[in-house]
Symmetry: C2
Subunit: 428 residues, 2 copies
């Protein structure tokens, strides 16, 4: 008998029928002899609808009240899910974030979990009940107010509960079968991975893969929680995300795999590129520029500085950042143009980022050569390059990104024998 | 500077525009120099929609989870209302029932308030904030679970808060201008009352008047809370409901009124009549019958027993009860027919009940004669009669009820000079 934490996203509980289907899945797990704790998101588009209402009554909703509002979405879904399980003859108890002991910082809208005190969850498990916990929300001890965890909060709720309860596995359900070697909508020959290491998963998620949220994976890695990403709509085993020292459960498809050099190819069309032209090539200018950009609220991703042209004593600095943050960053830079002394700003939102991720890169040479050769053979131009210990990323034209992903996927021998089934949604 | 508790029903906060209108009304009260605490219901049809969802996932929803589900409706409306006030430049803080200290019994769906510990409400008032409290919900200390108060719960929340905070007045807003001498949809010449005594209000509410809930009026009477029933959509002073020893506020329309003998005429089409025919006229038979009816879950209202026919030694017993409870009561009686020994059951759901209510009846004679004469002149037959110290009720044919109400209203001199404005909704 194991203790299993499951997380179901909004699309898995979008209506009464989906809720009943998820209830059955939970009951089946319980019938398998396991203790089950479930973290659940708000139904379908509830959160967006509540946000729309908030903006209809207040241009800038008060953060405390916005968290109070949004946290009601998960109360609805968790109560309905508990009722559905109850009516199948199983004892089920729902708990809000604060009832479940999800203690967070006080930052409304992006609170971080600082402690988990799941006394009532344990009590309910001891009573033989299935426990349903509202995802995405917590409670601050000082203000005694409800908080929300921000994007991907329900994944984090599930992982944090799994850590606090010392669960055997944290199953994160969505509408895709697991983690793929690439986005199947971009690369039809993408294959589902049986296992992926947590560090690879972090790089994939940070570079465009959308099945798991970085925060949740990071939390799982730090607290030694085994994540199993799988589909609500099929019985496949999904993908095990293994932190250091973990092995996939016995009997799973995953326990006999040899580790490949490259785990997957991630694609990302959400970034824009800004080039600051004619920056005086004196120490401290780059720091000045990126301080201005940071103050505008943007997270810079890749940075490339050209070699200075000796004749002018000036250089160009390019960087990428989320498209949504570009206009604020441009305005901030333009505002300080005289002080910084650069000549011009160029904005390009037609870029695509391709990343190749694999823990095997540490031990194998020639991994980057394969990437560059595959792209050059296809005539795709590389505009920027950045690397980490287990990742190589390149920026190409956005229009070239899909083709680039397909040829690189083939070049690393990742192609499957059949085309992957593609779902419409994203699983949130 | 006064402390004013206000309650807004679901139709007053049905959408973003209504919420903004209510927010403005609250802000205007605050601008008048008063402290304001608001109890708010769920938006429009939210509660019914949540109930539909519950029944779609579970034929008989688990009561604990149903309360968790339904209580989310008020969290949504209260957070939106607080945001709207905030964006008008006023500090506002919303609290759930449990945060506001509404301590209840553990009966899910029909919990009773046993204590109110509004520490956080007081703190927020001391900080100069407008306080918004979720109506209809509370918290049980033993189970640590969320409860709901049942029908009219938000009115009760408001009155209980007013009592605990020692507020000057509890304003209950709906879409009607106050308490009328009759339902204006039935009696077009009905007049708004400026004051009504709590005991009259209880009789009116118990006999079909729908503006205030009995529980809330009873709570107000017991704890000495002055209720002011008024409209969200007009600036009229509404009706003051005064417990013993209270007088209407100085300067209100109400403080110079002479108390009339009859306060109002209530009509009720929600009851059915059951007649048990040929009951053996021996002691204990009535008790037997009403025990059976009570066990079926029905609340019996009026009872009439005919004089026994000497020849047969049998009598007929008629009683009224809510239409919705009639079929269960009939089944229960039929099941025990042999034991009780009655001959037949007759069910009549085409009845109407007319009640005349007035504290002045205690001191004046001839009040009932006016009623009977008015009806007999119009040729309306009286089928049953019951009285209390300050009320006379009669049962007539349902089709005759409106006409009966109009002639009785005229006979007691209650008619106004103009026809009342009639609204579509009920204010909940």
């Amino acid at each position: 008998m194991a203790l299993i934490v499951q997380k179901y996203g909004g699309s898995s509980v979008a209506d009464a029928d989906s809720i009943k289907r998820v209830a059955k899945r939970i009951v089946d797990t319980r019938r398998g002899g396991h203790d089950v704790v479930v973290a659940v998101s708000a139904m379908g588009d509830t959160t967006d609808e509540l946000l729309d209402l908030a903006h209809a009554v207040a241009p800038i909703p008060a953060p405390r009240e916005l968290d109070m509002l949004l946290s009601s979405g998960e109360r609805i879904s968790m109560a309905l899910l508990a009722m559905a399980i109850h009516s199948m003859g199983f004892e089920a108890r729902s708990f809000t974030g604060s009832q479940a002991g999800m203690i967070t910082t006080a930052e409304h809208g992006s609170a971080r979990i600082v402690d988990v005190t799941p006394f009532r969850v344990r009590e309910a498990l001891d009573d033989g009940a299935i426990v349903i916990v509202a995802g995405f929300q917590g409670f601050n001890r000082d203000t005694r107010d409800i908080t929300t965890l921000g994007r991907g909060g329900s994944d984090t709720t599930a992982v944090a509960l799994a850590a606090a309860l010392d669960a055997d596995v944290c199953e994160i359900y969505s509408d895709v079968d697991g983690i793929f070697t690439a986005d199947p909508r971009v690369v039809p020959r993408a294959r589902k991975l049986n296992v992926v290491s947590a560090e690879e998963m972090l790089e994939l998620a940070a570079n465009g893969a959308k099945v798991l949220y970085i925060r949740a994976v990071e939390y799982a890695r730090r607290h030694g929680v085994m994540i199993n990403a799988r589909s609500t709509f099929s019985s496949g085993q999904g993908t095990y995300v293994l932190a250091e020292g973990m092995t996939a459960p016995e009997g799973s498809e995953a326990d006999q795999m040899e580790e490949p050099v490259v785990a997957g190819v991630a694609t990302d069309l959400s970034q824009a590129k800004i080039t600051v032209i004619g920056v005086p090539d004196v120490p401290g200018k780059a720091a000045e520029i990126f301080k201005i950009v940071a103050r505008s609220g943007a997270n810079v991703d890749m940075i490339v500085q050209n070699v200075s042209a000796a004749a002018t004593g000036r250089t160009d600095i390019s960087f990428t950042l989320p498209k949504a943050a570009a206009s604020a960053a441009l305005r901030a830079l333009a505002h300080e143009q005289a002080d910084v002394g650069f000549e011009n700003l160029v904005h390009d939102d037609q870029i695509g980022k391709l990343s190749v991720v694999g823990a095997g890169m540490r031990a194998h040479s020639g991994v980057s050569a394969t990437l560059f050769e595959a792209l050059s053979t296809t005539g795709i131009n590389i505009e920027m390059i950045s690397t980490s210990e287990i990742r190589i990323s390149v920026v190409v034209r956005g229009d070239d990104l899909a083709e680039a992903a397909r040829v690189v996927h083939t070049a690393y021998g990742l192609d499957g024998d059949t085309e992957a089934v593609v779902y419409a949604g994203t699983g949130r």
